[in-house]
């Protein structure tokens, strides 16, 4: 059989490679930088994705280590199960967040990173307490282990749906009087606010492209999967790359690819190639399962289901309502960034957001993936489901898995619910069509 390759397809492939390749390189470089820290003498700061102050960390030449990302990597490489067990052996309860346990277990088993090299011990823990109480315990546990300086940055909760001056003032005060002086001390680098401004400018540029990419899902068919695919897309910006040129390049490439797919009327790219036909459009709330990520995703694309918007892609910052890092108000903008991350938003705000997504992205309904580990996400999701259903008139579905604990992923169970849900949507459509015809 002869295969003909049209010029356009070549361009597409090349471009596709461009963003993927770029990301792979970035990640590899990052983990090398971490692993090299021991020899290069670079100092390492551990911090969290929500409230990740990468721009600030870079101002002190610190390498940003994100335990959450490590846990995700362990999950994807199917090691988290053993790590979690290890932590449980060390006396941790079966009930608590497995992200923490995966991280603790990984350290207990030699702290080997995804590149097979040992991760460095942090020189400073930047405990950004943003939308999750577990963070506090997590870093208390790390502090117990590493006995290093721990800087606490509290983000007040957006309980009433607004950012009050008291909140911003509190955060700026913490940054000025506590966080920055301590970072200076640990790193030995003097804080330079213009350097911060420079990074923030770069952040905003990449953020523009990210928003464009995520919102491209408004197209029909959607050129992206805003959950499974989205997880790859948010990696750089929520990780150690926000504020870098690398991030700018990555999102530019990605944007071009998305544009190409829109122009060609193509759907998202899945691990099994481009998606054939978009049958269902979904909004998803909640983190994914990482231990069986591929299998999980497959249950969607096999049925023709595309996720057009998700809340998880907002855990490290919510940009689609207009927030961009603002170099002219450097500390305030950092505060507002932290305040605005998804998990720091009140439940009514989350409901508003998801209901708006269902409408805006013309979805068939809301799917909630409830994560056993994560109270921050999960407590209250059943009310979210009810309210979004009520407001949009679209049916919602509820499944339960875990982020990185393979014991909580029951493929048969999840598949059963998903299939039932899709069949229900299908049947309803049939019914509706009938109703119109009659």
């Amino acid at each position: 059989m002869k295969i003909t390759i049209s010029p356009k397809a070549v361009a597409k492939d090349v471009l596709k490679d461009a963003s993927m390749k770029k990301q792979k390189e970035m990640m590899a470089e990052h983990f090398d930088r971490l692993a090299d820290a021991g020899h290069t003498g670079a100092k390492v700061a551990s911090t969290f994705v929500p409230g990740n102050l990468n721009e600030l960390i870079m101002c002190f030449d610190l390498v940003n280590n994100l335990p959450e990302v490590n846990a995700i990597q362990s999950g994807m490489r199917r090691q988290s199960g053993a790590y979690v067990m290890e932590a449980e052996k060390a006396g941790h309860s079966e009930d608590v967040c497995t992200y923490v346990k995966s991280d603790i277990g990984m350290m207990a088993k030699g702290n080997i990173g995804p590149n097979g090299r040992k991760l460095p011990s942090p020189d400073v823990l930047l405990l950004s307490y943003t939308g999750c109480f577990t963070f506090m315990k997590w870093f208390e546990l790390l502090r117990e282990q590493f006995k290093c300086e721990t800087i606490f940055l509290q983000t007040p909760y957006m309980a009433d749906g607004t950012v009050t001056p008291n909140m911003v003032a509190y955060m700026v005060k913490q940054l000025k009087e506590d966080v920055i002086p301590k970072l200076e001390r640990v790193s030995g680098v003097k804080f330079d606010i213009d350097r911060l401004r420079e990074y923030l400018k770069k952040s905003a540029q990449a953020e523009d492209d990210l928003v464009y990419i995520l919102q491209s899902a408004r197209n029909k068919p959607s050129p992206i999967d805003a959950y499974f695919g989205g997880i790859y897309y948010i990696g750089p910006i929520f990780g150690a790359f926000r504020g870098t040129d690398d991030a700018i390049d990555y999102y530019r490439f990605l944007r071009q690819e998305v544009d190409q797919r829109i122009a060609a009327g193509l759907g998202p790219v899945t691990p099994d190639g481009p998606m054939e036909k978009e049958k269902y459009r979904l909004v998803v709330e909640g983190p994914p399962n990482y231990t069986n990520f591929r299998q999980f995703w497959k249950m969607f694309y096999e049925e023709g289901a595309v996720v057009v918007a998700s809340s998880y892609t907002k855990v490290g910052g919510t940009y689609d309502f207009g927030f961009r890092h603002d170099p002219s108000r450097p500390l305030e903008t950092l505060a507002e960034y932290c305040l605005g991350v998804y998990t720091n938003r009140s439940l009514p705000m989350r409901i508003d957001m998801l209901a708006a997504y269902v409408e805006e992205y013309e979805a068939d309904g809301l799917l909630i993936n409830s994560i056993k580990s994560c109270n921050s996400f999960s407590a209250g999701q059943l009310l979210i489901m009810r309210e979004v259903e009520k407001r949009t008139g679209k049916p919602a579905a509820f499944i339960e898995t875990d982020l990185v604990d393979p014991r909580y992923f029951s493929a048969a169970n999840v598949k059963n619910r998903l299939e039932s849900y899709f069949q229900m949507v299908e049947q309803k459509r049939g019914g509706a069509a009938k109703g119109v015809a009659a």
């Binding site: 009810r386 509820f398 059963n416 039932s420 229900m424 049947q427 049939g430 019914g431």
Partner: protein, 441 residues
Amino acid sequence: MKTFVGIDLGSTTTKAVLLDEERKILGRGITNSRSNYDTACRVAGQEAAIDARFTLFRREFGDDGEAGRQVEEFLARLERAFRLEQFLEQLGDLQQTCMEQVTGARFARVADGVRQAIGEVFAQLRAEAPALFAPGATRKSDFFRDIAGSRYLTIAESVAREAALPYDLLLNVYDKSIIAVENRPPSDNLSDKFDAALKRVTAENANTDREMQAAVEKALAIELEETFLVGTGYGRVTLPFSKEHIRSEILCHGLGAHMMYPNTRTVLDIGGQDTKGIQVDAQGIVENFQMNDRCAAGCGRYLVYIADEMNMGLHELGPLAMKSAKPARINSTCTVFAGAELRDRLALGEKREDILAGLHRAIILRAISIISRAGGIDDEFTFTGGVAKNEAAVRELKKLVAENYGEVTINIDPDSIYTGALGGAEFARRAAEGRLEGLDP
């Protein structure tokens, strides 16, 4: 004639429904689910075919007036006789299988004694069999496993004591054999058994109408063609059917409930391993559903564990619980710990019926929560699944529905355990008519 088959392979029971072209139910069949899905489906299907025969008999006779009552009586007798034949056949199989187990080192010294004991146990079992199927007799369960099993255990205990043999040995022989017997596909020669049953009936009642016999023979001659089959239920992923023959159990339960009660808007199904709350519209289309999460607490299996623990039949739990005036408050419905909780409470001197009543309430409480999750109850409300057979559960349900949702019509059909299979059969009928995946109403 054309028939459409729905099979609901549940976690504890497998149900089959046969529908004719007029959407009328021809027959229902049920068996316990087991490791061999094929067999479970075959048995359920066969049971439904047997039931269909009785429907056909009835159709053959017409059923009005005095004559109708006579016919009913005759058919009831025929059915009891048929069931007895079936039971005896399986008993024979079980005995033979048990005997074959008596080999190897474990039995080296006692083989003869054990064989003798088994013989004795089965002799007693056979002797009491006709009483089990006498008019008005109630059985612990519909399944051979349960009926034969519980009697076997009781009889074996005394036989073992008398023969000074370890009870465990007889237990073990049974445990091993019952599985083998269960997983053996049933013999297909139904007409033989019908013949034998007819003979039995005629022998008992010499004056059986010749006409009746003729009608029966005529109905037996009708060919039942399996036109299309749809499977559903917990095991549907592993069902021995291809994808176009499979529907989600949610849709099947919704549709089945709609067929039985067209005004149904809310359906509660409590099965062996899951509890579902389903909302349907006026066409039986599912609007919303919720299921219990991964914890199987409070599902039907819970009652099975309890029945086991109390050495009672499933059918007996409800009536005993109904006797309670003061239900205990039970908070944990973890299925696995059910037995432990029960013992705990018995040890504290609580009454069996009170504990049982409390357990039933606990199950229903959980179910009501799931309904609440699925958006509450709208008129009319239909309760399906195996647990709907249990009067104590039904009583609690009615109470709680009234407390929480006021006056609503509650439908409970004695055959509600077949709801999913019924929906499946209708999907089969639609699919055979060439409608899109049968989803099209």
